[in-house]
């Protein structure tokens, strides 16, 4: 009988907090968006599923061994944990969790050893997160794969479009200011690191957003990743009104000069040129842009096609599965159901909107100074969100001029946006570290 009671108490229904129930619904909602509405399914299916797994009460899949010991341990275990963490034995659970999170690494190692001796293990998703994201490897490997899938031809044929990719990153920094403003106004409580991580949503680039937030604000990673991928899927809805509002019918009809042929040698040299510029001027962006250039060089050099194929297929797919589940581990109720998440979702869409606007405006500015006019509709593609944003440019362009195919022209700013947000990521990581004295 006692056994039955224990079992019932260990069952999910009895333990489920309302937060976990809400997150279960959120996870199902993400799966619905991914499967029915085709919202970036490659990421949102694993993220949504991981989010559900992370919120199974009593399974503790997203907790480390030490956190599990706090969640499930008896009085003796808690007392010993308190002693390890330098608290008195009557300390509450929340105090213990907080102390564990902010303890020096050596103490965390001791706590983990103690928890393992007491029979607790790391949760499955916690292990995935440690290996895939905390180490930084998964976003970097995905970036390598993206590099191996990227054709810089349209960019090389028209290098001016790099400026569009630069301008659209203003969405990032405006959002940083917005987040800081909310904090100063007392509405939210974002640190400067939080603000920088939130801003990167405006980069419209999933792996970059995950990489930056894993370094600067791991607790916000779940909300940031969900916002980034959701808004990327919403690009066809977010961008067109802004694009139409900022351009005249005449501008939208501009036909652009046919792109010149770009030689194989230019395509091989470009990633090396980019790498060297990064090496000389922006070492903080070296991991992201280094792996990106490596992937692209493997693609273009033509002598390692086996490696390039693997980077574009088996390797990126395997990494995506574990990256998604790992992001899902950050959808645990106690981290995700926080007023900050609402702030992140609100700021994220602002970031997309501003990036779209500044991209379009920059195209109009360039037109003031140059002979070969740019159709400002391709400016919005500078936010990246490859290749969705470029398709949106094409579609809106066709509405005004059914014979005006902007797709290839928009691919230039589109991939420029990837570079731009990686550069912005490097700058922000480097500046936040020097500001916070790390």
């Amino acid at each position: 009988m006692e056994n039955l009671i224990t079992l019932w108490q260990s069952s999910g229904v009895a333990q489920m907090a309302s937060g976990q129930f809400i997150m279960l619904l959120v996870g199902l909602g993400l799966l619905f968006l991914a499967i029915r509405k085709n919202f970036e399914p490659l990421l949102l299916v694993p993220i949504g599923f991981g989010g559900i797994l992370a919120n199974i009460p009593g399974a503790d899949l997203a907790l480390s061994a030490a956190e599990t010991a706090l969640a499930q341990g008896n009085t003796a275990v808690l007392a010993q944990m308190a002693q390890l963490l330098g608290l008195d034995s009557g300390a509450g659970l929340d105090a213990l969790k907080k102390a564990l999170g902010s303890a020096p690494v050596a103490v965390q190692v001791q706590a983990a050893e103690f928890a393992r001796d007491a029979g607790f293990n790391n949760g499955m998703l916690y292990n995935f997160y440690s290996v895939a994201i905390a180490s930084g490897v998964a976003p970097l490997v995905i970036f390598m794969g993206v590099g191996a899938m990227t054709d810089f031809g349209p960019l090389l044929a028209n290098p001016r479009t790099l400026f569009l990719g630069a301008a659209a990153q203003f969405g990032i920094f405006a959002t940083v200011l917005g987040a800081v403003g909310l904090s100063v106004a007392g509405v939210m409580d974002f640190s400067i690191a939080d603000a920088a991580a939130i801003g990167i949503i405006g980069g419209a680039d999933g792996p970059t957003a995950i990489y930056v937030s894993s370094l600067l604000a791991p607790d916000l990673l779940g909300a940031i990743a969900v916002a980034a991928y959701s808004y990327m899927a919403l690009v066809p809805m977010i961008q067109p009104p802004i694009m139409r509002a900022l351009t005249t019918e005449q501008e939208r009809k501009i036909e652009m000069v046919q792109l010149r042929h770009v030689s194989k040698r230019e395509k091989i040299t470009f990633p090396l040129l980019l790498l060297i510029l990064v090496a000389l001027f922006l070492p903080a962006a070296a991991p992201l842009l280094g792996m990106f250039c490596f992937g692209n060089l493997m693609r273009e050099c033509g002598v390692v096609s086996r490696l390039s194929d693997t980077a574009q297929n088996a390797l990126i797919n395997i990494t995506t599965i574990f990256l998604g589940l790992s992001v899902g581990s950050k959808l645990a109720a106690d981290k995700f159901l926080d007023p900050k998440t609402l702030g992140i979702l609100a700021l994220g869409i602002v970031a997309f909107a501003i990036g779209t606007a500044t991209g379009v405006l920059m195209a109009k500015l360039i037109n003031v100074f140059s002979k070969h006019k740019i159709n400002p509709l391709i400016g919005s593609a500078g936010v990246s969100a490859v290749p969705m944003a470029a398709r949106v440019s094409n579609k809106v362009g066709l509405e005004s001029n059914p014979h005006n195919f902007l797709l290839m022209h928009a691919m230039g700013p589109n991939v420029a946006g990837v570079i731009g947000s990686a550069v912005a990521a490097g700058v922000m990581i480097s500046m936040v570290r020097s500001l916070t004295g790390a």
Binding site: L156, A166, F173, L177, R265, G420, M431
Partner: protein, 78 residues
Amino acid sequence: MQETLLQQGLDITLFGMGIVFTFLLLLVIGTSIMSRIITRHFPEVEPASHSPSHKVGNDSARLHAVIKAAIEQHRQRR
């Protein structure tokens, strides 16, 4: 003295946008120079690169054409 949060945000924004633009400006310049050098001094010998994927595409296209022809023949025969 620690800067205020607002000041820090402004710093990140100003320097951030500045560096993004400066870096991409350097990249535009570098790319243009690179393209010019390669186009002038190291032009490609082959008229057009026949990448393997292209070849597969062509093969496949030819296969389709052949099969289409075979189907037509087959229909005409009946």
